[in-house]
Structure formats: C-alpha cells, structure tokens
Symmetry: C5
Subunit: 353 residues, 5 copies
C-alpha cells in the first residue's frame, strides 16, 4: 500500500525549495545523456556527473537525467538552466501528483510512468519530470529503462517533424509515448480481467473474490495516478506561455487530451466490469447455496414423517390391532411409499426442486 502514498515525512519542516531527495534510491550513480539537434543535424553524448553540460547555439538540447539522489548535480543543473527552486524540489520528491506548472523562465511537468510487474502482480510507478523552455528540455527519471526509445530513434533518424520543432514538441512526443504506455497497460490488465468472467460463471471459488479485489485496487491505483494527467494536459491547453507554440503544437496536445479521456473511460469500464463480476459471484454462490439447502431440506422433510410412522409401529401398546394382521408389514411399506411419493409430487408441482 506504500505505493499509494509516498512518504513526505522526512521533509517536515525543511525550507521550501531545499534540494532533498525523497524516495527510494534505485541506482548508484546518475546517468546523463545530452541530445542536441536542429533541422540540419543531431548528436548525442553521454556525460558523467562532473562533466560540464555544453551550450549549443541554434540547437535544441534534450538533457536526460536518470537518478535523482545527487543533490550537487541537481544544484548545478538548476543554476545552469535557471530553474525555479520549487520545481527542483518537486523533481527530487518522488511522491508528486501529476501536474503542470508555469514559471517565468520555463515550464514544469511531472507525472508517473507505469509498468505492470508480472511477478508481484502489481503496477509499478516511476516519476518523470520535464522542465522545458524554448530550446531546451530536461527530463528526470528514477531508474534506467523507459518508453522513450521511439522518440530517440525519430530524433536520430530524423523521421517526422521532431528535429524541426522546438522543445514543446519534444515534450509532447515524450508525453505521447507515456500515454501510449498507459493504454498498453490498461489493455494488458483488461485482458486479465476479461479472463475472470468465465471463471466467475463457471464453478467459482472464494479465491476469485480476492483476485477481483486485487484488480480493483490496481485500477484504483492507476486511476489515481492517471486522473491528474487530464488536468495537466488541460493546463497546457489553457496556458498562454510563450514556450508553447499554440498554432503548431496545440493540436497535438488536443489529440493527447482525447487519448487520456479515452484511457480514463476504459479504466472506468473495467472497474464497472469488476463490480459486475463481484455481484455475479455473489449471485452464483448464493444461488448454489440455495440449491443445496433446498434439496437437503426437502430430503429431511420427506424422511421425518416416515420416521414418525416407523416410530408409531414400534410402540409397545398391548392392544395394537394392526400389528397382528398378517400383511401389516407390507401395507406399512405401501403407506410409506405413498406418503413419500405424494410429498415428492407436491414439492415438484410447486417447482421446489
């Protein structure tokens, strides 16, 4: 459950803007990659945490930082690019809610990348922060491995418009791959959820309830992380920052908004499905239980009067006329069969079994 709520406790009482890493350290040394490109060319270079970050006039720069725990590095980046201390504080605190914020000198986006861990059966999140202005974009992530390879390929191969546009288009391209990965995740969970339906209808056992609850919780977790992304994109669409080139880039973000709405509706659909499954499970179980109890009760109800008749003929009355009669025993069995048969016929006619 710790996933639901990252601890901010240690931060209590620090000055706002203090560069303190809050989260789980997932790698030893930060990894830095600098891509610089313009309409004409593209180059990528790996930096280590001490090497200076080059300045390339007339080129756009994309600095990708993996690992957030090195305060010195963070401080250096903040100073070089003139980033707002609050933005940097949020970058280093991995318990952020997805949001878009406008500062005077740059824009700030933070959101979660999501991945389904097949082993634990849980969705894992990793925080991504983007800071960008006209000609640079800095992306911060917690660990190696991301969904941005297609963007890197498009950059290196010069496919599409990505080299010709500014940092806002690059930010869009990165967000787009993340939203795509959300959709992939929902599809994946959705297939697992679809599989539950047959199991619910067919002889369900109790384990399915906790399985349904697990998926409900995962979807709740996903919903909680994705929902603010809608506001994030709405914020970009409403923004009139000079760093977002309305005429050219806004249609792309508008498209993204449609995708995220679609995703949220799908999460909702699957949550409804799970609730329906739970109801179906309860109906199935209680209907089966009813069947058992009904049949058994009918069973008892038939034998209880028969036992009574046997009891009557087991009494030791001195003067018991029937007992002397030679065929009494056979008549007794006949009586028993008639009573049982009548009851069966009656219960059946009443559609009780």
């Amino acid at each position: 459950m710790a996933r639901f709520f990252k601890k901010r406790t240690e931060n209590k009482g620090l000055a706002p803007g203090a560069l303190v890493f809050i989260g789980q350290k997932r790698l030893d040394k930060p990894i830095l990659n600098l891509h610089h490109y313009n309409g004409q060319g593209y180059k990528q270079e790996a930096l280590n945490e001490d090497s200076p970050i080059g300045d390339f006039p007339n080129e756009n720069r994309w600095l990708n930082v993996v690992g957030l725990h090195d305060s010195d590095l963070m401080d250096r980046i903040q100073k070089q690019f003139g980033l707002h201390p609050l933005a940097m504080e949020d970058v280093m605190n991995t318990g952020q809610r997805a949001k878009f914020e406008e500062f005077d000198d740059h824009l700030f986006i933070t959101l979660k990348m999501l991945q389904f861990n097949e082993e634990t059966g849980q969705v894992q999140s990793e925080q991504l922060s983007l800071l960008f202005a006209e000609d640079f974009l800095i992306s911060f992530q917690e660990q190696e491995g991301d969904v941005f390879d297609p963007v890197r390929h498009r950059l290196s191969e010069g496919r599409g418009m990505i080299r010709k546009r500014g940092a806002d288009y690059l930010a869009y391209a990165l967000l787009d791959t993340i939203v795509d990965s959300y959709i992939y995740l929902i599809e994946h969970l959705g297939e697992k959820i679809d599989d539950l339906e047959l199991r619910v209808l067919d002889n369900p056992d109790e384990s399915i309830v906790s399985e349904i609850n697990t998926y409900k919780r995962e979807l709740h977790f996903v919903m909680k992380l994705i929902k603010p992304v809608k506001d994030l994109i709405a914020g970009i669409l409403r923004s009139n920052s000079p760093f977002i080139h309305g005429k050219e880039t806004l249609p792309y973000f508008k498209d993204l908004e449609g995708l995220i709405l679609h995703t949220l509706e799908s999460v909702d659909t699957y949550r409804n499905l799970l609730s329906d499954y739970l109801n179906l499970y309860h109906t199935t179980i209680s209907s089966k239980m009813n069947d058992i109890m009904r049949v058994l009760t009918i069973f008892s109800a038939i034998f209880i009067p028969l036992s009574f008749f046997a009891g009557v003929y087991g009494t030791n009355f001195q003067y018991f006329p029937e007992l002397q009669y030679k065929y009494s025993y056979f008549i007794f069995w006949g009586l028993i069969l008639i009573v049982a048969g009548t009851m069966l016929w009656y219960f059946r006619r009443k559609k009780w079994f």
Copy 2:
C-alpha cells in the same frame, strides 16, 4: 470485450501523424464515391483507388471512402485536400473516441455508427470520420452498408435544402441519420428489455441474471460510445469556424443536441430499469426461497415432537401403566392429532404460513 478498447498497441512510438491503419480490415479494396452538386444539378461517380478525384468549381463535393487500410490512397487524399496529418491519423485508427476538432483548413468529426447484431446479441460499432470545409466533405467508413441512403436520395432527387446548402449542412444531415440510427437501436434494445419484466415477475430462473447483465453491458457500451457525441455537438455549437454558417446551420445542430440528450436519457432510463429488474429478481428469488424454507421447517417442527411421543411409547420399561390399557393406542393417536392440530393452529394464527 475487445469492443470496449481497440488496440493502439501496435502504434506505440510511431511519429504522430503517421498514416498507419489500426483496426480490423473488413474489405479487400477501398470503394470511393464522389457526389458533386449545387443548386442546379447533381452527379455521382464511382472512382477506383487510382483514378484522380475531380475538382468541380462552383460545386460542392462529397467524397465517400469505404475501407481505411490503403495508406497510399489516404496519403493522396490528404495531399489533394490539404488535410491535417493528425486528423488523417485519427481517421485510420478505428479506436477513436467521438470528437470534433477544428483545424485551420478544415473541420474534423469522428464518431461511431452502431448496429445490433441479432446473432451475437451484441452491438457492433463502425467508425465514421467526416472532414469538411466550405465546399467539400470527405466521409470515411470501415465497411460497406451504412445509414446514409436517405441523404443520398435527397441529394439525387433534390428534396429539401440539401443541394443549396454548404458542406456544413451535409455534415449535419449525415450526423442526423446517425443519431436517428442510435434512437432506433435504443428502441430495439428497449423492446427486448421490456420483455424481460414479465419473465422476472413470473417464475424467473438464473439465466435471466446473465441476460440482464448482458443488456447492462451492451447499454454501457452504447453509452460509452454515444456520450462523447454530446460533447462533439456542443463543440460544433461553440465553434466559430468560418466553415459553419451560424445563422443558417446552427439551429439544425441545436436540434440534434436535443435529440442526443433525449437518447442519453433513454439509455439511462433503461439502465435504471435493468437495475430494478435485478433487484426484483433477487426479491422474487429470496421470497420464494423463504417460502420453501418456512413451509419445510414448519413441516419438520410438527413431526419432530410427534416422533418423540412415538419414541416414548416404544420404550421397554417393565412397568409402563398406559401400555396395558386397552384403548391406549387410540388415545395415542388422538393425542398425536391434538398436538399436531394445536401446532398448525398456532402457526397459522401467527401467520407463519
């Protein structure tokens, strides 16, 4: 369930605006029909995928394209009409949420056509996209067979104002027939749902639960696809695009908004009905189960003490005064009948059966 969420997976990481078909290929070769008309005349010609699309000054053109998988054709149409790459990407991705988008050179509408498949008992959807500007409208659909024949007849026979108005009116006319087909679908589902009521009240079996759940799911599916159409039309009404002639065409879209609200309310009504049926089913079943259990329990409760009395007179005590008495056996039966009668009378007075 795949209907709920069309796969976008294969698209992961493509450059935005890339013309890639996402969906199920439903026919071999695309079918193209070009209608051109003005107040004076009307002509329709079938094109094949290589033939050039004519340009008719002072005439409106309606190009109807069936089949979305031919990227070359799509590319050619995009270039000839100057369509936005994002719009074309959405046309070819059949997993779109209904939406209205304004581009500089044209407007874009995408939504679903719905049809009830009697065999599978499921609602099937087909994506329709409309791109239009002042004097042309291009409609893209996935397969042959649509609900537009009345519009074609009105065009060919010159009924109504359709030939005299621009592409916005044609777009309205197409949307209107689609919304009409929604209403027809809801009516059709509604009649099936109405039929359930009697079956629920009259001796219901378990199969009705899964049937109710099926209809709930279909209505959820329909709701999910129709609900964004409301926003789509609201978007058109808010738009101040030069391609929509406010004074003349907006009243028609306003009318359409009333229809779609009406449709959504009806879907809601039927969903409420289904929930009521489900509750009614549970009440009926549990009330029937209660009846059975009550009657059987009363039955047992009467015979259990009687068996006890029979047991008492079956004991083998040496000195058992009553057993010697001549009429004991008959008195025993009298006792049994009195006890049973008293209990029946008591239970009846308590209104237990």
Copy 3:
C-alpha cells in the same frame, strides 16, 4: 414502457423540417380557437381547419390548435406566421424533450402536460408546443381538455394584467398553469405514497414491492419529463430575445423557476421515501423470517435430544438395569422434563426467544 420513448423510427431519413406527424392520433379533426385581445377588448372565435386565420392589427392573437396530424393545416399556419421548419417538425413529433429555442422570427417552447390516470395507475403525457413572437402565440396540443381554462377566464373577464401584456406574458401564464398542474400531480402521487408507509410497517406482503416499484417508475417518468423544463426556463431567463420584455416579464419567469425547482426537489423527496420503504420492507420481512426460523429451530433443538432419550430406552439390550426398576418410567418423564426445562431456561437467558 412505450411512454418512455416515443418512436421516431418512421422518421428515419426524412429531410429535416419535413412536416410529418409522429405520434398517436387522438382525435378526428383538428380544433382551432383564435383569441384576439388588447387592453380594450377581447374576442374568441372557433375556426375550422379551412377557414382563414384573421389578422388583427393592434391586437394580440392566441391561436390554440388541438390535434397535430393535419399536415396541410400545419403547412398553412407555418406559412402565414413565418415559422421555422425545424420548429414545425418538432411540433408534429410528439416524442420531444422539453426545450426552449430561439429563432429569428419567433420563439419556440415545447413541454409535456401530465395527468394521472386512475384506471391504469399511470401518468399520461401530452405534448404542448408554444410558438410566439411580439403579438401572437400559437399553442399546439394533442387532444381536447387542458389546464388552460383559468387563463381563458382571465382573458375573457379581463382579470389581472393578462390583456395588457404581450405574448410573452401569455406564454408565462400558460406555463404557470402547467407547472401548477405538475405540483398537483406530485401532491396526488405523494398522498398515495404516504399511504404505503403504514402498509409497509404493518404485516407487508410481496405485492407492496411491485407497488413501490410502480411508483418509482412513475416518478422516474415524471422526473424525466419535468427535469428539462428547468433548463427550458433557465434558457428563457438567459435569453435576450426582443420578444421577451425583460424588465416586466422576467420576474414572472424567475418565480416559475423557483416553483419548478421546488417540484423537482419534491419528486426527489418521494423517490427517497420509496427507497426507504423498500429497505424497511426488506428489514421487516427478514426480521419476521428470522423470528420464525429461530423459534422453529429452538423447537427442534429441544425435541431432538428428547427423542434420543426415548430411543435409548427403546433399545432391546438383554441386560438393561433401569428397565426392571418399577418407577423407571416416571423417572424417565422427570428426566425429559428437566432436560427440556433446562434448555428452555438456557435459550431464554441467552435472549434467543
């Protein structure tokens, strides 16, 4: 259930604005009444469907049309008063959602008149449409008999301000009597619902569930028809049409808005009451069932061990010491009574009955 959703099916694909009657024909020939009046005088004349509709300068005209199926008459009225084709189409389609629409030359209001039919136990609706401009108002209704007599009396007797004001005030007066009739209907249903409470608390049977469901459905039906009236009036209040004299007439419509809000809240209150009754019914029933089952189970639990003891003394062991003893039988009965008494005392102390 057909009441929930008037068929539009036959209309599929007609040109918008086509004058086609959709609904149930409720009378043979349309009935027309023309009232014309001003501050000085008032006259009313009955027209038949062919007679021309007079033009009275400096007078307001109210044309009341009963029966919507005569397309020729409709066409004539449309042309004489210059009505918008979409408005006329809506007038003739009795499956409209209540709405207010502004056209250039006149305003359009459509809503439902409601009446409780004691025989069927259902609420019946009839569509009323009002079209008005500065000095005329045309009202269309489906059948004879309405709630407008008080307005007619005020007109003929010159009571209140009705003769001195324009068509907007007349429209208000008509809407006011309709909203009054809504309130009367809710009061009437409310009294029936109030009567249910005692029956639910006192020995309820299953029929009450279907009765509660019936009222829920009727209230849902009423809610569905009345709710859009709120938007209708809000639309009038927002309107800046020259046909509505803001300073003089708007306070009246504002008053009407308060009434309709009040009505909707009352429908909601009664729906909540019905849900509470349903819960109360289930509590009452299950509590009664629990009582029965508990008492009967206690009954059985007492006799089952007694039968065992009788069974023990009914065994045929050769050496059975107690059986020879003279007072065994009486001791046996004593034992039985002590066991039964102890159990009763124990169950009572545990508050089980």
Copy 4:
C-alpha cells in the same frame, strides 16, 4: 408528510400576484409591530390591523407582521411601500422554497424558521419573508414566537452597530439569528443521534430501525429547507443592488455563508452517521442470528447420529449378537459418549462454536 410539500392546489389558475393566503391559519388577528430608529434613538409601537403605518423621515423602520391571512392588510402594506405583487403573492403562500429576489424598488428574501417539537418528534417549519429597501424592512411570519428577541434587545438597548446601519444590516441580523437557530436545531438532533450509537451496539431491537429512519427523514426535511438558503446568501453576495452596502455589509453576509456551509456539512455528517448505524444494526443482528443458528445446528447435528445408534439397538432382529452380551448397554453408552465427544472436539477445532 404534508410538511414536505405545502399544497398549492387551491391556487391553480389564479392570476399571478393575486393576494391569496395559502397555508394553515395559526392565529385569529394579525399582530403588527413597528420599530423606528436611527443613530440617535429608538421607538417601538404596536399597531392594530386598521391603524395607519407611520412614516418617519431620517429613521429606519422595521415592520414586523405576524399572521398572513388578512388580504386587506396585505393589500394596504403592498400599496404603502410599493411592493411587487409577485413578492406579496409569495409572502402569502407558505409553501415557498427559500430564495432571494431583486425587484426594482426593494429586495425580497423568504426562508423557513425551524423548531424541533419534542412531543411529535418532528421538525416544524414556519415561513419568514423579509422585504427591504434602503430605510425600511418588513418581516412577515406565520405565528407568534420567534428567535428575534436578541435583535430587538440590541435595537432597544443600542448595543452594537445595529441602529447606525441601514435595513440591509437589519436583514443580516435577522438572518444571522435564524442560521444560529438552525445550528442549535442540528446540535439538538445530533445529541439524540449520538445517543443511538450505544443502543445499536448493545442488544438492539427492531424499533431502532424505525427510529433511525425517523431521524433520517427529519434530517432530509431539514436539508431540503436549509439547502436553498445557501443559494439565497450566494445571491445576496452576487447582487449589486443599491440597497446592499457592499463595503460595509457584505463581510457579514460572507460570514453567514461560512456558517450555512458548516451547517449543511454537519447535516451531511449526521446523515452518514445514521447510515453507518443502520449498517451496524444489520451486521449486529445478522451476526447474532448466525450465532444462534450455528449453535442450534451443531446441537442437532450431534444428537441426530446418536438417535440413529439408539434406533439400531431398538431393532427387533431375531439374531442380534450384541444384545445378549451382558455389558452391551454400558458399552452402548460409552459409544454414544465417544461419538458425541469426537464431534464436539472436531467442531471446536474447526472454530465452529
């Protein structure tokens, strides 16, 4: 239930603005009190229904009218102060929803005063209407006895700013005491609701369900009447009427808004509590029922096989080896005890009792 919906029936079809009393006449003759005051002095005089209402230049007047049924008096007041006929109609109709309305010459406020009647256990409402302009305020109430004494004292003793401010401040002061009385009422109901908790946890009986339902209904009633007061105050805050002195008086109304929000949230809290209690009741009851059924069923399950064994040894087979054996009877009892003990041990180990 009549409290939920005051009859407007008799009003059907009256001209709007007609002065007709709708409600229950609660006193014989109306009582009038006129307070006039300014920064320098204050005087109060009781009027009877025929005496003229004085005019005091440079003084504020507060006319308090108790009893609404005297149309002549109402007519006289309306004319003297130039009140709008719609406002006067609403004053005399006691079935109003709380609202604030602006007329050209004065403002109009109507809302309910609430009181808990210990005898009937119901909340009673009385309608209060305020009409005020720059220097006069007229308050109409249905019966004697109100919550305004503190305001009267502040006026007569000159405490606070009340004498120095205009009629808007007086209106605020009156509304403030009414909102205070709402809070007192909720506190009072809240204490009664809190008392229920212990009774629910401790041995609850069925009567508590109907008691919980009663409180739910009363809170629903209170909510229905108080909720529109929020809109009323919001309306005042939005108003730019010259009769409300924004700079001086608005902070007070703003404060009132906070109070009414607080009150509504508290009603909501108590409604949630009641729902929790109801659930707790059902859990407690069903858990108790489960205990009883489980124990009794275990009881029966132990004796039924024992009876079978007794039955076996009661059979009359000629050749029955065990019966001849001398210690059979004691072995039989041993067997019985072992079987019973084993079952008890097994059930206990399974934690069934």
Copy 5:
C-alpha cells in the same frame, strides 16, 4: 461526536463582532511571543498579557498568541493592529470551518491543526487563525505545542528566504508545515488501516467491524476539516490583495494546492480501502457460515434416512419376514453403509462439500 460540531449555542443572539470565547479553555494564562526580523537580523521576545506590543519600523513582526479566552487581550490586539471585528469573533470561536477572508486592512485565514491521540484512538483538532497584512502576522492557537518549530528555526538561523520576504511568505511557511502535518497524520492512519487487511482475510471476528467503522469516522472527520482548506488555498490563489505578492509568493501557494489535493485523494483512497475491507469481511464471514451450515445440513441429511431404516426394523409387526432371518442384522448394517456411502458420493460429485 462533539468533535464534529462545536457548540455555537451560547452565542445565540450576540451582536456580530462581539469578542466572546467559544470553546474549551485549555490553559490558564495566554502566552505571547513576538518575533521581529528583517533581512539583517532577528529577535524574539516573550511578552506577558499586559506588556505592550512593540512597533518595529522596517521589520516584520510575527506575534504568536496561545490561548484565546482573554477578551481584554483580544480587544487590545484588535485595536492596535486595526483588525476587523468579524475576524476577531471568528478567532475566538473555535468551531470555525477553514476559510480565507479578505478585509480591507488585512487578510484572515483560519484552519485546524490535527493530531492523532494514540490513547483515545481519535484525531484531535486545534484551531489556528492567521491574520496578516504587509509587515505583520498574528497567529492564534488554542494550546501550547505546535508544528511550527521548523519555521522558528529557519527564522532564528536565517535559513532560506524567510527573513527576506513579507508576511505572506511567513503565512505560506506556517500553512506548509500544517499541510505537512496532515500528510504525516494520513500516513500514520494509513499504516494502521493497512494492518487491518491481513486480519480481515485471516479468521476475522466481529470487533474488526467496529474498528473499521472507527477508522471510517476518523477519516470522515479529517476529510471534513481538510476539505475546506482546498477552497482556502484556491481563495488565496484567486485573491488580488496587495498583501500577497503574486509573482514571488503565488508559486508557493500553488505548490501547496497540489499537496492538499494529493492529501485529499489519499484520504479518499483509504476510505475506499475501508469499504473494501468491510465488504471483504462480510464475504469472509458469510462464506464461513455457509460452509458450516452446508456441512451440518449434509450431516443431518445422511443420518435422517438411516434413522428411518432403524425405525422400520424396530416396528413390532407380528409377521415381519426379515427379522427371523439369521443374517438380517448384518445385511441391515450393509444396507445402512451402502445408503450412507451412496449419499456421500452423490453429494461429493455435486461438489456440495
């Protein structure tokens, strides 16, 4: 429950702005601390309730008052700083809803500080009010002990920008530590709630229901107090008061808004978890009960027919062929075993146990 709704009763009818303490007196004498500082220096002095409050030109002052019951002191502070009477009334009434209000000469914030009391298992609240203008801030709290020590340290040690900024930044810093303490509280409650999950899945007893209900109530309480803080901060963000330096301070409040949204979502998440646990508990319990009833009923259903057979052979018919046969007794036992075995096999095959 008194925590839910602080009594305002005693206040009924007081003049608005009267300085009357409403709440629980938590300490004997008020404690005053005055901090004054600017970019250059910082000094703190403890005052007693009679000593004058110094005036320090070119310095910011923070006056911290603990204890609200001393009306004379309150009056003196109000006069010295020119505070609005309504603000002071709210400071002294500890039953306030969190809110932000703008007055001409200063701003006013009131909200709750929350703390979990391990002994009572309840969340305790203490009211904090902040009044500030350009260069002073006065904070009022109910008792000693708060969460502001980090702010005091930053002030005394000159860390961060706190000494260089105005009173608005100080207000932000105080609010920030309070929101941090909310987060800490939710984390703490969340850990306790997480612990419940295992106990629900593993052999749950009834006590867990009341425990879940307790946490639900605490979260409801927390939600009720924190939710208005969202509006409070939104109010600050919307404000254009000269005392809030938009460019410099607003980003900090914007950051705070994100935190409070995050907190509210977490409360919501935990409430959902608790509801899921409650459902899980009911499923677990009813599933266990079903198991017991099913097994026991099967048990009885097997022995009841066996008892019947024993009864048959216990009858005393004179002519009873089987009884004479030598091996009858052994055949009888065989029959019993076959019948019992068949039933067991049948029930098992039907998956009834």
